[in-house]
Amino acid sequence: MGLIGRIGRWFDARVQLADTAKGVLAHPVPRQTASWFYVFGSAALLVFVLQVVTGILLALIYVPSAGEAWSMLHSLNQHVSAGWFIRALHGWGSNFMVAIVLIHMVQVFLFGAYKYPRELTWIAGVLLLLVTLGMAFTGQVLRFDQDAYWGLGIGASISSRVPFIGHAIVNLLLGGPIIAGATLSRFFALHVFVVPGLLIAFVALHLVLVIKVGINDWPMPGRIVRRDTYVAEYHELLKREGIPYVPAAIWPDVIFGGLVLLSIAACAAIFGPFGPGGQPDPTIIQTAPKPDFFFWWLYTVLSYLPPAAETPFLLIAPALGIAFLVALPFFAGEGEKSWKRRPIAVLVVLLVAVAWGALTNLGAHTPWSPVMDAWSGEPIPQKYLEGRTALERHGALVLQLKQCRNCHALDETGGKRGPPLDGVAVRLTQDQLIRQVVQGGGNMPAYGKNLSPAETTALVAFLGTLHPPGQAPARNAAQRAALP
């Protein structure tokens, strides 16, 4: 026996943990669970370890001071050897972790793993999802740039809508009356101590349960979960076709985990670190704040909800969603596990995935946001000016100068907040155009006070020329009768 073996023995004679560890590692699992479908939990844990390591490395340099954090991040990117790479690993690790946790959740949901007796395993998993998202949000704040600064403002504005205690929550969240030094300090404490502490505790609970209650058996259509018989059946299954996790069933986890780490490293090396973006100076307002991509769906929802529905939605929907997830194993704790016999479960996943994808895609394009510099940066396409009268061209100038293009596109350029104006003359008669411009309505401000009668006349004259070549502009019935 070599020296290392002897030292190992010396330690284990005292701590006496080797047998326990061997028992845990070699605990029997059903043969079919050595599968590519069962790799996401261990991969999430592995990425978390990467996050802890890279997080500690970043904490060696980072300064949680509102006055210095942003410059320090630039220094990390540029003056510390491999600093940019460690930042990139941590940022990409965060994205991968959120994604893998979500995939893991979908997989265990479709495989019925939340059913009896694994209710608590599932609930610990729901808590892990919440703290993972908590890490993502607090981490985004530590990248203390314009997006972080105004993102905190959005967080504060949402919190302030809680009845009665909203104002107090804002103060406690920001650590003071405004977003400033104390805010960053407390998000640092949350991101580095509090939330990871919870995460580690929930991971421990989750893992203990996976070992004690056992990993979910492969769902077979027709193998029904019943509270009276399930545990005995599971033990029977283990006895019949169980294999030790180490060494027989761990190989997919190891291979997939390695590939995930390589992917993170590749993304970090190719795409680099995230930001920091613009300087977090509250007096620099030429910015369009945007959250990280996993919150884009929420960004979309907040744009499209009717104003009156927003506060109830913000305060009630998350609570209902979490309550549903926690309650799931209690009202659907028995019965079929296989997704082949659970069409509603499959449809729910598809519905959520399609809704999430659609909302996220909209969040990528933000068609509801005015394009703040379209009026000064996007000229009127030449084809809309050729052969126009002086009045109509003056109208084009009014359109441009009054920032109509910030919300209305011409030839695909400009804002998408309002409808594009390329064919507006076909949709609205002259009278309707005047009314719409002067009075607004349908989510358009009224321009009556901001346009002189001459400007309105010119603008409407120009808008009246915007129709496809073969299509006549709209005219009201009286005009049609008078001028056939």
Partner: protein, 181 residues
């Protein structure tokens, strides 16, 4: 442990130990709570909401809306540039002013003033406001937040202290703040 009728010496010592630790929990716990809720407690102190000068009133031309910024009355050493707060000052007629918060009444993003179209526009979710701060379109449920102001000795002051939020104190401008808020 057996539950005999007669208290044992050990039992009494355990109870005494619990008592000592309960006292320690109070002695330590109350300052801990005060520390945690400091942002809320500190709010009642004088100097929280203060009159802050924005410069000579004459630097804001009549009939125009101009960008201004000031340093928040409550600052801490680590604030850096985040101690600054931006706002929009509208000089209505030389005597009457309106000072709007930079934060959109929807979710707090920085609104921008467009003098050409006389509109405030928000880059986040597309809220728009008229020159007087009233809601023009988009998701905000109300007009822009307004600060209180006064002109003394030719200098324009605003009463500032905290970031305006839909549920905050400035949201009910014109209504006197209750003493506990």
């Amino acid at each position: 442990m057996s539950s005999s009728e007669r208290p044992t010496r050990r039992g009494i010592f355990v109870k005494l130990g619990v008592l000592v630790n309960a006292a320690a929990a109070f002695a330590i716990g109350i300052p801990v709570l005060r520390f945690l809720f400091s942002p809320k407690i500190r709010e009642r102190r004088p100097g929280y909401d203060s009159w802050v000068p924005l410069g000579p009133a004459s630097s804001f031309p009549i009939g125009e809306t101009r960008f201004a910024s000031f340093v928040n009355p409550v600052v801490s050493p680590s604030d850096g540039e985040t101690a600054k707060v931006a706002c929009w000052v509208r000089n209505v007629d030389g005597r009457k002013f309106q000072i709007f918060a930079i934060n959109c009444a929807h979710l707090g993003c920085p609104v921008r003033w467009f003098p050409q179209s006389n509109l405030f526009m928000c880059p986040c979710h597309g809220g728009a406001y008229y020159a007087d701060g009233s809601r023009a379109s988009g998701p905000p449920e109300r007009g822009l937040f307004e600060y209180r102001y006064k002109v003394e000795g030719g200098t324009l002051f605003l009463e500032a202290g905290e970031m305006p939020t839909p549920g905050g104190a400035l949201a009910t401008l014109g209504v006197r703040r209750p003493p506990w808020a």
